[in-house]
Amino acid sequence: MFGAGGGTNSYGEVEKTDVILLWGSNARETHPIFFHHVLKGVHNGARLFAIDPRRTSSARWADSWLGLDVGTDIVVSNAVAREIIAAGLHDRDFIAHATTGFREFAESVESFTLEYAERESGVPAQAIREMAHAYATAKRAIICWTLGITEHHNAVDNVTSLINLALLTGHVGKYGSGLNPLRGQNNVQGGGDMGALPDRLPGFQHVEVDAFREKFNRKWNATVPPKRGWNLTGMFHAMETGELKTLYVIGENPLQSEADRNRTESLLKSLDFLVVQDIYLTPTGELADVVLPAGAGWCESEGTVTNSERRVQRVRKAKEPPAGALDDIEILFELAKRLGHDWGKPCSKDIWDELRSLSPVHSGITYERLDTGHGLQWPCWDEAHPGEMYLHSRLWEKPLNGPPVSFTPVAHDPPVEPLTPEFPLRLTTGRRLDDYNTGVQTSGFSSPLRRGETLDLCPEDARSLGVRDGEIVRVISRRGAIEAPVRATQSLRPGLAFMTFHFQDKVNTNILTIDETDPKAGTAEFKACAIRVERLGS
């Protein structure tokens, strides 16, 4: 909606804001460093709202928790919008100055009354109303979200509905106000910035825009294909149709991280040729024809990473990779040479300078500047530019600098898999503090907090199923069945179950999850599938 993908605020701003909506995010456990900044904000008096089906450890820090049903985020956000408009709390000046499509948007949310929202999402109307008023009347307000918003079949709509709230209240483009997706790794942002997206060249320059492509063609003395590629979901689809025969995986473990593991496995096995480049021999690597051992990014590699606040920071090689492993760029350069293109000796600074010459937002970020400060935030247009603390300040410039931003009405679309008498429980998946994703980087270390995989249920459900804490049960979805021990927790309510996907070697959670993906972003609906639970031997 704004053109570039990135959090609009800096970490420091969340410490100085007045209202924080933490939507679909258990940042306390999954983004613990960012959560420190949230806590500073909280200690400085900010009101924290947590919108999450579970009362997570993050939600326990919140002044208010809204325990909505899985997949009803748009119901709540549209109801917030309607309430703000109905109470006359929207920022009329900002809307007139910097946006288009308000009237259509207002009409689209008209039916999302508080009563309807309560019925559909389960959250008491009063709680939604309070959040709407707090957000709209705050001097500064920030919305943060994570996978609770994006791991749905309608991920983009979910994000759009939150952006609508910011446009409605003018909480964007200002210090302490904005929209911030929290990134799952130190360099997810950097990966996208560098063009590891199916439709973008480095610096978010669209591959289907001729002028952008021309620039790269000239610099690289090669021809960039003029059409977008596949996203991950698209690739698996292409494997299914036989269009995709060869796959080169760098630093991913799709066998364990993708929804519907049985399907993933058969597709990966059907490939003609699979190359995996990783720091460990992952289960995906075990399926590969060729495995390229890589150095660890944080200590055996030279280059930069970019965090969620768009801050580019230097990474320096502290040690050589173990024998047989190489830094990722060395592998790529070597591969290029074997394919007949000698790029010379790999040098991270040269690569960075090439990026600067091609990506305007990175132009001003030199290695020399990175060496002397605490990193720089893009956009940084030239070497005198200090970098932008927050994005989209142009929306407040008078007259408006650039095109207005449009509201985008979105409709509620419940999870693909409904609950039925046969599969009566809603399973949602997520992560815990002491483990990371499929465990490639964390399972090698012990943790006093780690308790292994469990099927988390509320005490009431555990009781009605007649299962004890720790008892191993069979968990069944339409796609498969696994066994896991039960853990009763009061952070859940009847009908809602929770699992992680940290321990796939032992408990293959993604055998259960559904591979229904968002048509625009390709993310799968990890957050909502339907299951039933059976006692063993029954």
């Binding site: 009362r55 820090w61 208010s64 325990g67 008491p124 009061q490």
Partner: protein, 626 residues
């Protein structure tokens, strides 16, 4: 907050004891019943509101301690859940205070004072005797205690009883025993009656009772401490009425004009403090009364609170009116059950009379007072440690600046004054600042309370205008109790200094004592005759500071231990190297503690010992045993 509590669940009795202070739990997350209808989709208690209850931590611990005699783990866990305090932090707080026990203790405990005034009156033998007598008893425990503030009745003991209700029916769990003997203590244990409930109790504490020149002590013995009417008849609330009439600015002007200096020991001009708070930004301000009277040898504040608590409350009300505070706290040490009960009754009485509360007498002003009970920590007499204690934290002093007038209790501008200081305020308003400042000498204005104890005939609290000499004061107290001449006088308590008989003519003023390298401190005048083993006193003073150092600053935490060890080695006659080397080392430790500790405890922990060494030479430590 996402706190993690493991271990035992509370029993019904434990819950009941905690709920009696905190009310019943509203949320399953705070130890209440899970009700999905109410709490399945929202948080009933969360965020800033959940975290804002931490100041109830000490009251909750007190409730459990008073019910069970210790803090059982189930009750502890329940308190953590109720108040959203992480167990590790709560444990740090509970173990900071002497009067809380995390281990099982007998339901009744006899605390025997082992501090200086009681020590020279045989408390050591008394304690040994009691320990033998109650050895192995499941119902009665014996503990040595730092100064109980009962020095006029040495040797003293304090009985604290736990249980469902106080067997004496007095509404407070125990009482003080003056001039204690094993027989008296047993009698109290049997009857539930204590010395401090006798009508002579205050007569004994105030030998000048009824004399016409008294101001601060004038009503003690003649006023009903819980009667607003009685207090009124005896001139009470005249000061408050004056303050109402002239307004905040003029009230502060009167206090500045009076020249009143704080009576807690630091002697800061009270009016200046008020003025700073009145000028500080913000709507929320507090008045805090420091009634954590723990300096060994000090008991004047106790006497005011037991005998004329309404004068203290009037002082607080005037301070609140002058500075715009809407809430007051009186932080009373936990070893003063009678004072706590009397002040509580007095607060209830003024509330019932509409003198405090919402919209006081139609003025549109609101003010209320709350008592907070200390739990046995000398350091909490330090003003910022006291704030932390009220806030439910370990009683560790804060760095200054910022000063309390800007960043005080709950980080708000705060007036904090000692009991005696506040009791002076109604007089200043009644007389006018100028008239008040005509009393006294140089920088020492008004009348002063002295806590006279030790080898004198009539120990007690004495009130005189500033200017009286040490000799005159001792004479007022009946002179020495025995035939032996005076060996030394301890001025200012354990944090003060010894002076020799050559200084008996020093005027007891701020400037007079400073001129001879001593301090007036909290008004302690403890007299020792030639029969006293001063070395034993020094051993005790060293042990006292080792016990009471909060441990925050390394020089004080380590220095207090090293000081005690050095004194012990000298006392045993086993110095490392020569005695002179050891004394030099003591001097160095004293210097480091003074230079590098953040609060007065570290600054003064070596003062009395150093003064004794200066006065009497190294042999003083070996004392009578040589």
């Amino acid at each position: 907050m996402d706190i993690k509590v493991t271990g035992p669940e509370p029993t019904e009795a434990e819950k009941k004891a905690v709920d009696a202070v905190l009310g019943s739990a509203e949320s399953a997350w705070a130890g209440g019943k899970r009700d999905l209808e109410r709490e399945g989709r929202i948080s009933l208690l969360g965020g800033n509101r959940a975290r804002s209850m931490r100041d109830q931590l000490l009251p909750a611990f007190h409730a459990v301690q008073e019910r069970f005699g210790w803090i059982p783990p189930g009750a502890f866990n329940y308190i953590c859940k109720r108040l959203t305090v992480p167990p590790a932090e709560a444990y740090g707080v509970a173990t900071f205070f002497h009067l809380f026990s995390m281990e099982h203790r007998p339901p009744t405990e006899v605390h025997v004072c082992e501090d200086i005034a009681c020590r020279i009156k045989g408390s050591g033998a008394l304690c040994e005797n009691l320990e033998k007598k109650y050895e192995g008893s499941q119902s009665v425990g014996v503990r040595k205690s730092p100064c109980l503030g009962l020095c006029e009745s040495a040797p003293a003991a304090l009985i604290l009883r736990s249980g469902e209700s106080d067997p004496s029916g007095n509404g407070f769990g125990g009482g003080a025993i003056g001039e204690a003997t094993p027989e008296k203590i047993q009698a109290s244990l049997d009857s539930g009656k204590y010395s401090d409930q006798n009508w002579e109790w205050l007569t004994h504490a105030v030998p000048q009772m009824g004399e016409s020149q008294l101001r601060l002590l004038s009503r003690i013995g003649s006023v009903d401490p819980a009667s607003v009417e009685d207090y009124h008849i005896q001139g009470g609330f005249e000061g408050l009425a004056k303050a109402f009439a002239i307004g905040p600015a003029a009230t502060i002007a009167e206090v500045i004009a009076s020249g009143l200096m704080g009576r807690g020991g630091a002697a800061f001009p009270t009016g200046k403090k008020w003025e700073a708070v009145a000028q500080a930004k913000g709507d929320t301000k507090y008045v805090v009364c420091n009634a954590d009277e723990s300096e060994p040898g000090t008991f004047k504040d106790r006497v005011i609170m037991e005998g004329d608590p309404l004068s203290l409350i009037e002082g607080i009300l005037i301070a609140a009116l002058a500075t715009g505070a809407k809430k007051g706290f009186i932080y009373i040490r936990g070893e003063y059950p009678l004072a706590i009960a009397r002040v509580r009754s007095a607060i209830d009485a003024v509330r019932a009379a509409g003198i405090i509360g919402e919209n006081i007498q139609g003025t549109g002003l609101s003010f209320d007072i709350e008592i907070r009970k200390g739990a046995g920590a000398y350091i909490c007499g330090e003003e910022t440690a006291l704030f932390n204690s009220i806030e439910g934290k370990r009683g560790e002093p804060r760095n200054k600046p910022p000063f309390p007038v800007h960043v005080g209790l709950f980080n708000k501008p705060t007036v904090i004054n000692n009991v005696e200081t506040l009791a002076n305020i109604p007089w200043i308003l009644r007389m006018g600042g100028a008239a008040y400042s005509a009393i006294g000498t140089g920088n020492s204005k008004g009348q002063k309370l002295f806590c006279v104890s030790g080898h004198v005939k009539k120990p007690g609290v004495y009130e005189t205008p500033f200017g009286i000499t040490l000799r005159e004061l001792i004479t007022l107290a009946g002179g020495t109790s025995g035939s032996a001449p005076i060996k030394a006088v301890l001025l200012g308590g354990a944090a003060g200094a010894f002076v020799g008989p050559e200084h008996l003519d020093v005027p007891l003023t701020f400037e007079g004592t400073r001129a001879i390298g001593a301090t007036l401190g909290s008004g302690v005048v403890m007299v020792f005759d030639q029969t006293t083993d001063l070395g034993d006193i020094l051993v005790r003073i060293a042990a006292f500071f080792r016990d009471e150092s909060c441990g925050q600053c390394v020089p004080c935490r380590v220095g207090a231990i090293r000081q005690e060890e050095l004194i012990a080695r000298l006392r045993r006659g086993e110095p490392n190297g020569s005695a002179a080397d050891e004394v030099a080392l003591l001097g160095e430790i004293a210097q480091v503690m003074r230079d590098a500790s953040i609060c007065g405890l570290g600054h003064t922990a070596s003062g009395a010992i150093q003064s004794a060494l200066r006065l009497f030479g190294n042999d003083v430590v070996v004392g009578a045993r040589s």
